[in-house]
């Protein structure tokens, strides 16, 4: 009987093509807008390191100005980043199972091979300690990262992102080959597989929706080569900074720090370590503010940084309200359409269709409108995301259509179609057939 209902539904939809197109269009429009906002919302509100959420922590210490909190709106907040020397102290602790200190730098990446056709270009680099790759579960296509010894001796080694490897080596296995960063040669140790965590949780302060950096080199290279930061640097203390060394010794915060602590005991021990470190620093005249060290899990870190801005939630709500308006329009159109079907429905009733059968038949019809509207809406949503990507390059990571969201949108469309059809369908089922058979 379902097949028969489908056939009758299809014929009924063809009977009033204009009304059908309007209904499908209304649902498609609502779904497209919902899909777009839902897609962006889901991307920015996701936790890309959910599987390691319970063991990986962002580290904060509050050595900011005693007269003014780092964040006036949230006085209890500590700076997102650490000073160079505080980060160094974290890195020297033996308590964490893994530890990462890191920052951004900018270089010109070029080929070492003079015959290569790959042109040099400016890249963002992550200068990081070696645990970065294992702690953040970064996937490798070829090779691996560097070891502690390479870090200690600031070896000129590099891990290429998949795009950089594509540009330099056409995507081939480049492990063992060399590239130039600025004028210095670096040996390629590894090439990343496609990796695009959204949001870029490990450095939310420098473009939370940006793609990961193009290349990765040892953190210690930055000190050796005196690489200036390509990310945010926040300072509060008037102090003479006339050299790179002076900058490293300053109270400016610019280093991101993460640790992996696999047991609650380690968490407690590391907290004690931080407290002890700050207490020592206080004796040296630093950290004048009350003790305010923080360890935040990735999920807490994302929340703290307000990656999902209130605007996003409001926009999501508005888009669903827009869908509701589209559905109300669809209800009106369905009422108009079904009122024109009273004669045919009466005839079906006379020929033996019960109210339940008529209800099912029309529910199938409105479901078809919902599904077709949903599919069209997904297509329109995809185009909208494409347009957003063209307009705002920085939105690239969040404007890829997540097909799970697409399927959810299809489900929403189906439910929306049925909801929109419930009242018109109920009404048509209540029709008394007799008066309409005489005059059909």
């Amino acid at each position: 009987m379902f097949g028969y209902h489908l056939r009758l539904g299809l014929k009924s939809l063809r009977r009033n093509p204009v009304l059908t197109v309007l209904m499908i269009g209304a649902i498609a429009l609502g779904i497209a807008v919902c899909l777009t906002t839902l897609n962006v919302y889901s991307m920015v509100s996701g936790n890309p390191l959910a599987s390691r959420n319970d063991v990986v922590y962002a580290v904060q210490m509050d050595g900011w100005d005693v007269t003014e909190p780092w964040n006036k709106d949230h006085p209890t907040y500590a700076p997102w980043e650490l000073t160079f020397r505080d980060a160094q102290a974290v890195y020297e602790s033996n308590i964490p199972d893994r530890k990462v200190i890191m920052r951004k730098g900018a270089f010109v990446l070029g080929s070492s091979d003079e015959k290569s056709e790959a042109k040099p270009y400016i890249v963002e680099a992550r200068l990081t300690t070696p645990d970065f790759f294992s702690m953040f579960a970064v996937p490798f296509k070829f090779g691996a990262g560097w070891d502690a010894e390479a870090e200690r001796s600031a070896e000129p080694v590099i891990v290429l992102g998949d795009k950089a490897n594509e540009k330099m080596f056409g995507g081939a296995d480049s492990v063992g080959k060399t590239v130039k960063l600025d004028d210095k040669e670096y040996k390629v140790l590894g090439v990343l597989d496609h990796w695009s965590p959204v949001p870029k949780f490990y450095d939310l302060n420098n473009g939370s929706l940006d793609e990961p950096e193009d290349v990765f080199i040892p953190y210690s290279r930055g000190e050796l080569l005196e690489v200036v930061s390509a990310g945010n640097v926040n300072c509060w203390k008037p102090e003479p900074i006339d050299s790179f060394r002076a900058f490293l010794a300053s109270e400016c915060v610019w280093i991101q720090s993460w640790v992996e602590l696999r047991t609650p005991a380690k968490v407690e021990a590391f907290k004690s370590f931080l407290d002890g470190y700050v207490a020592e620093q206080k004796k040296l005249g630093r950290f004048s503010r009350p003790l305010n060290n923080k360890l935040s899990k990735v999920s807490e870190w994302l929340q703290l940084n307000e990656v999902v801005e209130k605007d996003n939630s409001v926009l999501l709500g508005i888009s669903f309200m827009f869908l509701a308006v589209c559905l109300l329009n669809t209800v009106g159109l369905l009422l108009a359409k079904f009122s024109g079907k009273v004669g045919v429905v009466s005839l079906h009733r006379a020929l033996g269709a019960s109210r339940k059968m008529i209800f099912r038949q029309h529910l199938v019809e409105v479901s078809m409108v919902g599904v077709v509207g949903g599919l069209l809406g997904i297509g329109m949503g995809w185009l909208l995301l494409l347009a957003l990507r063209q307009l705002y390059n920085s939105y690239e990571a969040v404007t890829h259509l997540d097909w799970t969201i697409g399927l959810i949108a299809l489900g929403i469309a189906l439910v929306a179609g049925i909801l929109a059809g419930l009242y018109p369908t109920w009404r048509i089922c209540r029709v008394q057939p007799a008066p309409h058979l005489k005059t059909q």
Binding site: R14, A350, L351, G352, A434, K438
Partner: protein, 240 residues
């Protein structure tokens, strides 16, 4: 076959009450061909709608094929309509975007018959009305008389025991009206009980019995005097 006792039906609006049927009693025996006549507004169609379980009534009793239908729910009434009753309407009531095959198929779908059985019945009933060769045509491609024959085929395909016809020739010219009536007579001879509402006294005369309705009451009827002559070759028997 059909037995109504003291049926009354009132249509109410906020302003007025219209007594469509008052103390309406009628008995139709199996195999009869009854013509129901009366002026416009006399209650003929209301009677037919109640007889066909398309409308409920306010008081009285109604037994169809020995079963009381007073308290049946919508499912049961729909099942009886589908299995025991065939309808023929003045305006044919064919579904315009379904071809003849699919139009005749509608009641059979609700019966839940399998595809082979449905096809057999559809072909047979369209053959009976002489339109089997045009089963893939849509109603708009047929004349009024042909459309009414399709409506008859649709009614017959369900092999009803009881055929209700509401002014079946009202929209036809005299030649086509005669053809349709010939067909109804043939169906009746096959054993199907036929109740026909008509204005046309000449058509009514061809029934075995006339029932005259006035102001919602039966005012005159000819008693049933046994099975009509010549019964037994077409209609339900032919499709069985």
């Amino acid at each position: 076959m059909l037995e109504m006792q003291h049926i009354s039906k009132v249509y109410r609006t906020e302003l007025i009450e219209t007594h469509a049927l008052r103390d309406f009693s009628l008995k139709v025996e199996e195999g009869e061909f009854v013509a129901v006549t009366g002026p416009s507004g006399s209650g003929k169609t209301t009677f037919l709608n109640i007889a066909g379980l398309l409308e409920t009534f306010d008081t009285g009793t109604y037994r169809l094929d020995g079963e009381s239908v007073n308290d049946l729910d919508d499912d049961a009434r729909s099942r009886i309509r589908n299995q025991k009753i065939g309808f023929i309407f003045q305006s044919f009531n064919l579904i315009p975007d379904l071809d003849l095959f699919d139009n005749v198929d509608v009641p059979l779908r609700y019966r839940g018959l399998n595809a082979a059985e449905r096809k057999r019945r559809i072909t047979q009933s369209l053959e009976l009305v002489g339109l089997a060769s045009r089963m893939r045509h849509v109603p708009a491609q047929l004349s009024g008389g042909q459309q009414q024959r399709v409506a008859i085929a649709r009614a017959l395909a369900g092999e009803p025991r009881f055929l209700l016809a509401d002014e079946p020739t009202g929209n036809l010219d005299s030649l086509m009206a005669r053809q349709v009536l010939d067909l109804l007579e043939e169906i009746n001879r096959g054993g199907t009980t036929v109740v026909m509402v008509t204005h046309d006294a000449e058509l009514a005369r061809r029934a075995h019995r006339n029932v005259h309705v006035m102001d919602g009451k039966v005012t005159d009827f000819q008693p049933y005097e046994g099975r009509p002559i010549g019964a037994g070759t077409a209609g339900r028997a032919a499709l069985a």
